[in-house]
């Protein structure tokens, strides 16, 4: 992880983004060629480095503590297309997740997939009595949720409203855990901007709903 120099930052600003707030790059340095992602034109994470949440405040801390790129012998940084970056990525999980984010399509445009046995999803709502959850604790067909991984970005009900572009400004502070049976059909995509919110979270839609007793674990987040 490197903090780019002012000169490099100006260079990145002059280049197109690969997605909202980031650029997929190939870096030529004295250590050879490497791939990475540059965030906000200033913070370079190498391909193999683990991702970390850039919550408010935390990003500033990470940037401040990052090693200066000036010591790393970087000769050039070239923005490459996300498809080019992901085609050779060794981190398949990261590749798949970011590919979907870059693709930017809503769940309704996604391909049908089936859950694995231990997949976990979350549903955020402002309503304690969520109408989409049956008395037998299943989801009715055509109900939205998000992945457990994406839900980690949501710390408050207000976060959920923004990330999932919800129309009701009431904080969606109730979070249901969903553990579908293996083989449950769903489609996945990216929340599109709507109702004045950025969206950008991962959304899934369970076209056939989920079985009884798959909705558990009601948690209440801060607003």
């Amino acid at each position: 992880m490197l903090r780019l120099s002012e000169h490099q930052v100006r260079g990145m600003i002059s280049l197109p983004e690969s997605g909202m707030g980031y650029q997929t790059v190939e870096v030529d340095s004295t250590r050879g060629g490497r791939k990475g992602i540059v965030y906000n034109c200033e913070l370079l994470l190498w391909e193999q480095e683990p991702r970390m949440p850039f919550g408010e405040g935390r990003y500033e801390q990470i940037l401040k503590s990052a090693t200066s790129a000036e010591t790393e012998g970087i000769r050039s940084i070239r923005v490459v297309s996300p498809q080019h970056y992901f085609a050779r990525s060794e981190n398949d999980q990261l590749f798949e997740e970011i590919r979907k984010r870059v693709a930017g399509k809503p769940a309704t445009a996604g391909e049908q997939e089936k859950t694995e046995k231990d997949d976990v999803f979350m549903r955020f709502t402002a309503y304690k009595d969520d109408r989409r959850i049956t008395p037998q604790k299943g989801l009715v067909p055509g109900t939205y949720a998000t992945t457990e991984e994406d839900s980690r970005n949501v710390k408050t009900g207000t976060d959920a409203v923004e990330r999932y572009a919800l129309p009701d400004p009431t904080p969606a502070k109730y979070r249901h855990k969903i553990e579908p049976l293996g083989g449950t059909v769903y489609r996945q995509g990216i929340v599109q901007p709507a109702f004045g919110h950025k969206g950008g979270g991962v959304e899934v839609i369970f076209d056939m709903g989920t079985d009884d007793h798959t909705v558990t674990g009601l948690a209440t987040l801060p607003e």
Binding site: T108, A109, R123, A126, D130, R131, T143, L166, F195
Partner: protein, 69 residues
């Protein structure tokens, strides 16, 4: 204005796919023939309607489909 839907329409919407997490985008036709397009229903039970539709009886609710869904 936000209005609670009659049980008939609540049960109808529960059987329809959502438009997003916890809401539907709908077109509404009233008994007098007037319409309100692209309204939001939250939790299948509360609809945001223009104030000029106050007190009117809903004749039909149609869930809007996304262009690719």
């Amino acid at each position: 204005m936000r209005v609670r839907l009659p049980e008939y329409w609540i049960n109808f919407l529960i059987r329809q796919p959502e438009s997003g997490m916890g809401y539907h985008r709908v077109d509404v036709t009233f008994e007098d023939g007037s319409e309100s397009l692209d309204c939001v229903v939250v939790n299948s039970e509360e609809i945001e309607l223009p104030s000029e539709q106050r007190g009117k009886t809903i004749a039909e609710i149609r869930v809007r489909r996304p262009p690719n869904g």
